[in-house]
């Protein structure tokens, strides 16, 4: 009946250069109350997880009080704008296509942010593509972090049949 497709896919990459572990998407629990349904999904790691815990890298003190180079929010906003516009400009919303497109756009944005080579910053990229159907929606986020070092950049794009929102969160690794 409903052609709503909700897909969530997440990918990870190790910063230290070790072999990246395989992740599988598993549904952990499904509870049904009287008139609401909630589903929980968590990414689970296979195999190498235990070894990684034992081999945690202990780093020496850098005596660095803050980031030498701050995260350039305007530059990243431009990247987001550029990517979203070029990928979504004349497109129409289709389920299969948009599933692939969200993942592709995510990867492209992450690669371009990495190219900026900002040391000691971890990044989280979120992309949402949705159909315009007269519905209303609200997206919000709150973060518990160090406000002097951590920041985010966000851009939203709309055409006649779809909308796209991209957000990048940058967190300083102390």
């Amino acid at each position: 009946m409903s052609d709503v497709a909700k897909d969530k896919s997440q990918k990870r990459e190790k910063r230290t250069g070790k072999v990246s572990s395989e992740g599988s998407h598993g549904v952990k629990g499904n509870t049904r109350t009287k008139d609401s349904i909630s589903t929980v999904s968590c990414l689970t790691e296979l195999g190498h997880h235990d070894e990684n815990i034992r081999m945690t890298v202990t780093m020496e003190n850098t005596y660095q009080m803050g980031p030498h180079k701050r995260f350039p929010v305007p530059a990243v906003t431009d990247i987001l704008k550029d990517v979203l516009v070029s990928y979504l400009q004349e497109e129409k919303y289709e389920v299969e296509w948009s599933q692939k497109m969200t993942k592709t756009i995510c990867e492209v944005i992450r690669a371009r942010v990495k190219d900026l080579m900002i040391p000691r910053y971890k990044t989280v990229v979120l992309v949402h593509i949705g159909q315009l159907n007269g519905q209303s929606m609200q997206m919000s986020s709150r973060c518990l972090w160090d406000a002097s070092n951590d920041t985010f950049a966000s851009y939203s794009f709309k055409n006649s049949s779809l909308f796209g929102v991209a957000t990048v969160y940058a967190v300083y690794y102390e």
């Binding site: 409903s2 052609d3 709503v4 909700k6 897909d7 969530k8 896919s9 997440q10 990870r12 990459e13 190790k14 230290t16 952990k28 109350t33 609401s36 349904i37 909630s38 929980v40 999904s41 968590c42 990414l43 790691e45 997880h49 990684n52 815990i53 945690t56 948009s98 599933q99 969200t102 993942k103 756009i105 990867e107 992450r110 990495k114 971890k122 990044t123 989280v124 990229v125 979120l126 949402h128 593509i129 949705g130 159909q131 315009l132 159907n133 519905q135 209303s136 929606m137 609200q138 997206m139 919000s140 986020s141 709150r142 973060c143 518990l144 972090w145 160090d146 957000t167 967190v171 690794y173």
Partner: protein, 99 residues
């Protein structure tokens, strides 16, 4: 990241049993996120958190969401909870980054 229970409870507590109302959705999403975040901070772990919430009216429209992260796989993680009732969907995702 196995505190999805916290998330689920926060969502249920904040908006459970309500029908979609445009005027109130802002307040709901703020309260969902704030409750989530306060529960997470009570855990007292050395993590920075990012909590995202999307509330969407049920209208037959489709939505795709993807996220990719550049972090340390052994210490950082994320979790997502999807909740729905007859008139709306709510997706809450939590990212935890070790400091």
């Amino acid at each position: 990241m196995d505190d999805y229970q916290t998330e689920e409870e926060s969502v249920e507590a904040a908006i459970g049993g309500n029908a979609y109302q445009h005027s109130r959705v802002n307040q709901w999403s703020t309260s969902v996120v704030e409750q989530c975040l306060s529960q997470l901070s009570k855990l007292g772990k050395p993590f920075k958190y990012i909590v995202t919430c999307i509330i969407m009216q049920k209208n037959g429209a489709g939505l795709q969401t993807a996220s990719t992260c550049f972090w340390d796989n052994s210490t950082d993680g994320s979790c997502a909870v999807r909740w729905e009732n007859k008139s709306m969907y709510c997706i809450v995702s939590v990212f935890g980054l070790a400091i």
